[in-house]
Symmetry: C2
């Protein structure tokens, strides 16, 4: 079970990735795990929260827009992005957002 | 199954609500449905995406910070927030973020 990410005081950035999968695994699960491990090694990575139940929601947190751009350009991640468009997702939306305030329990 | 929200061109705002539930329903499911219906009636509401599988992730979209503030102050929603803190959630985090860019498939 994914945990609530421990993030620093705002401002920081969130990438909200909403998706629907196609039928079958087709190598998806292994690549998804690999991408989480790889993202965590990227400079500027702050944390990730991910849940799927039909709709998939993954929110990753970053210290800057530059860190998000560098992760998007990562060579192995680019292969995964291409495979996502061609095989794994029937639809997705990516939203890049600046977290301005947070609070919790 | 929740769908990917149809949102307008950025900028707009996202409220990212990450939570862990306590044991038992205790009136949660009914109130959660009611809050989604009620939020959709609020001025400035743009859409909502929600998934739970252990971790719960709900992202609601709004046209302004003022719309988010008004929803937070809604009387019936305030009762739900209080019950959330005292009974339904073992932990949660709310992040208010400005969506600056989006793209999709």
């Amino acid at each position: 079970m994914s945990d609530i990410a421990s993030t620093p005081r705002p401002p920081y950035y969130a990438v909200i990735f909403s998706s629907h999968r196609t039928e079958g695994d087709n190598g998806y699960a292994e690549m998804a795990d690999r991408m989480v491990d790889l993202a965590a090694l990227q400079p500027g990575f702050l944390g990730i929260e991910s849940v799927r139940d039909g709709l998939g929601l993954t929110v990753s947190y970053w210290d800057s827009v530059g860190a998000i751009r560098d992760w998007k350009r990562n060579a192995e991640h680019q292969v995964a992005q291409e495979r996502g468009r061609s095989a794994w997702y029937s639809g997705f939306k990516v939203r890049i957002a600046r977290v301005e305030r947070d609070y919790g329990l």
